[in-house]
Point group: D2
Chain length 309, copies 4
């Protein structure tokens, strides 16, 4: 799948902590070109030991450093880019997770503001070896890397890299993985492609708020679709089409994901909307990607075997 | 797995449309006994043709007829019953689905009260043959039956059979299927076991609100656990332990399901709660069972391979 | 406003902890009759001192004792009763409030299930004297009594007296007070009127979950409207019409309340629905009655001065 | 209350449609200085007649034009500004409201994504005269102007002027009115004060999404508090202290507002947090400001008479 030309390796010394059109592009990308991007982990490698105290190491709101933006040549508002993730490799031999104060799925937070005492802070370090990420000597979790954050720029907003939205962002969806194609809307000239927050693996919901965070290098190819802009991020795997919706409360994320999947089935597979609604009732899949970020992300899926026209 | 004694076949001429201790038991069940139960479909077989108009055929709130309650001998408040579903067979050769006025995942409803016009009503009939349920001549969906509704009685409440809750009820969770064991709390003497709403299959979320509804006969065995009452329904399959949480908004259902899974991992597998919280962050699964009922149901899962102690 | 006949005083030795048609009526009420009802406080007077520990004194789910049900003569499914609250008098000289474990607006709860430690338990006792309820020697809160719970029976459900719903119930809405008329739907023959949970006063939202609870005696008159059933509780004061919606998440309660207010404006005041929608945008009132119960209750109001036809 | 120096009148030919630190300040403000600011209406005066069709006149996302930002001299991250609204005068003789496609409190939206047909578009024009805004010849609504949007810049984000948040923004809260003081956090040097979206009046919730929009000129004075940054916008009137919380679902906005009010009572009035929690349970007020924006805004209030120390 690689071109014979040497592959460019794209890296940056400084990062963006917000996603939008106000950042300066760090490189141009040619549609169809294969390129590599290095990414930092969500903590910019400030947490590496179980003795680290997150609240002392982290500097809010400067979290989840994004590599980019990349200027996609020829992309204009109203287009779509399709980002193929060809490969992800770790660039260090461990991943970290942590309990962060007032953050996570089973604790009071800034948004769900309560009077209870916060949970304690705590750090876990997982060695990566033999294709697994090791919780302890016995329990190894498969190394199945994906990007927690992948985005184009919103049109007039610059939004925290901790947030997901209709432009992508911090969706924390394990389907943004090797072998899949991610459709993102183009809202500004050049699209402004951002990527970061590589996870070595993650459960549905990213329960405590911090997956298996690690630094990585990914290989990508971007296809440009002119004259059609998707409303929400789409994902295509070998066997499924998917939409990732992000909203609060969580049922709104579910509604967005399934409704946009119906629109996709209507546009590209010839379904009547109410027929797609019916068929997804019986064969759709709906997982929670994150239940911890500023918006919750859910991914709705339709197996391709049911998309006969 | 069957006893050599003849298996009792339990059936009823009239049904309960609400679940609770105010119904009269229709039979006694001996713990350990294998028995069969016949169930009606969610519409009490009033909708059978594509020309049927749901609002003319249905008589709110007399929906989702439950077979039962069954009095489980020896069960007392503070116990748990574990219901093993040994088999489910269809008792007719078709399933139905429908669009019901002001009901479903992508429409205004009684709870999400809007001024928009309702969606049209519509009925689909799916023949069941060759192990599949046929959407049309080309598209067959595997026949994978489960019970949309399974419950014990709440202690002092009688609740519509359309609602799920901590006593089970209309969770519409595809994991309540053949081969799995369902743990339900005992809140009253005799437990009062109810079952109904067999689905020939269903996608995550039961998007339009109506799965592949059919009449069926199931084979069950109930185990009685004395002196320990689960707070929410648990499911055990060969490979996973699961909890089904039901609440609105949907994030509360997610929180319940994962928190109770942590409690299960603590009680039966020796985990520290924060360690279980961490491990589930990386390996947990979280699907939407229903996004249409009076409470939303989410099922959180942990693969048993990670439950080493 | 009183009849010259002696007023019946209605009282009961035992209470109902769930609201529905499965309770036995304790008395018949003639439409138009003035009658008095004695009610217990939400804790059945088990908490009376600051040294009481709620979790030791209370016996879940036997809370919020209701007086009733009363059988309203002539009431049939499809009717509405209008309950006029003529007077409320305290029957003791103090009110109590408390922090209950895992209950309240700013703490994790059974529904918003978290891993944080619960808040401490605590009891407050407020003397009632000189028309005020005294937080301490300096701070007196006006004695403005109302009923936290007022209901008719649902048709087939018996629902915890801690829950509000479309049949009324534990709405904890301060507008259910002296001088106002409460419209409730009739779902079963005799309506089955329940009342209890008198509050000496309460802030919007009933923040910690427990208002100024006290025992009381109320004077009522019930009017029966034949052939028209309201979908949600309505309240009429001298100056405003109101609807109380109960749901989760809270925005659904807001939608219900305003939509039903539009329906009222359409039915009784001749408004086009979109015109009512517009006018309420500019003049409507929307308060939180409770943010702590199993469903949240919001009350939407329209001043009568804008209801010119 | 005015200074004897001539009052500067601040105006701008171009507007910002997003709020943040990436805009260029249009003027410096001296703390303590009295100044006037002219603002456009939410539609930049593109809708002025009942025959206008909103979807043809509006250009998403270029809505809700903000005047500003103003650079407040001496303000640094970690401070608070207190904006006193001394006066608001209309600069034209009418206000407009409208039904916008897929926007509003009782309709499907981009976030609450449904398959129902959208509501029709419609425009209302209200003459302003004699201290009232006239719905029709009979129904006049008091002219009680306030700013729907008032903000400082977030630290690293530029957020749509249609959104509210912890920096203020489009809260649509009628308490941001003449005579009140609005406390806003300073996140960047110069604070970057924005204001716009003057409403001639509005009901709680801004039900259809569009209040009585008009152009206006306001008179302000800004006080700078060094070394203390409020977490959420606070409002002080003659009789009450208030906090405006913005979040989805709506209960999170309620929690934020009340929790921050408790913090205020603790910091400035000497309350123990659990005592403030208790007192607000009995005397707090909680209104819905908006139920239509990207986040819902609720305002929690405590009458000053209860703040004895």
């Amino acid at each position: 799948m690689n071109k014979t030309d040497p592959i460019r390796e794209l890296q940056t010394g400084s990062f963006n902590y917000a996603i939008g059109p106000y950042s300066k592009p760090i490189a141009d990308i040619e549609p169809g070109e294969t390129f590599k991007v290095y990414t930092e982990d969500a903590f910019e490698s400030r947490i590496t030991k179980t003795t680290d105290v997150p609240s002392e190491k982290l500097n809010m709101p400067y979290l989840n450093p994004m590599t980019g933006p990349f200027y996609v040549k020829g992309a204009e508002k109203g287009d779509t880019i399709i980002v193929e993730i060809i490969d992800i490799q770790p660039t260090r031999d461990f991943a970290v997770s942590a309990l962060i104060k007032d953050f996570g799925g089973l604790t009071g937070t800034g948004a769900t503001a309560l009077l209870n005492e916060p949970l304690p802070e705590k750090v876990w370090v997982y060695p990566i070896r033999d294709g697994k990420v090791w919780y302890n000597d016995q329990i190894g979790i498969p190394y199945k890397p994906f990007y927690g954050s992948i985005a184009t720029a919103p049109e007039i907003e610059q939004i925290s890299a901790l947030a997901p939205g209709n432009y992508g962002g911090n969706m924390d969806c394990p389907d943004v993985c090797v072998g899949n194609k991610i459709w993102l809307p183009v809202n500004v000239e050049g699209a402004y492609f951002y990527v970061g927050d590589a996870h070595a693996n993650q459960g549905d919901g990213e329960l405590c708020g911090v997956a298996l965070e690690h630094t990585a290098v990914g290989t990508f190819r971007i296809e440009l679709i002119k004259g059609k802009r998707v409303a929400w991020p789409r994902v295509e795997s070998k066997d499924e089409i998917m939409v990732i919706g992000s909203a609060r409360p969580m049922e709104d994320a579910a509604r967005i994901a399934y409704k946009e999947l119906i629109i996709w089935m209507q546009e590209d597979y010839g379904f009547d909307p109410l027929e797609a609604y019916q068929l997804l009732t019986q064969v759709g899949k709906l997982h929670v990607a994150n239940m911890v970020d500023t918006l919750y992300s859910l991914v709705a899926k339709c197996p391709k075997e049911y998309l006969l026209t």
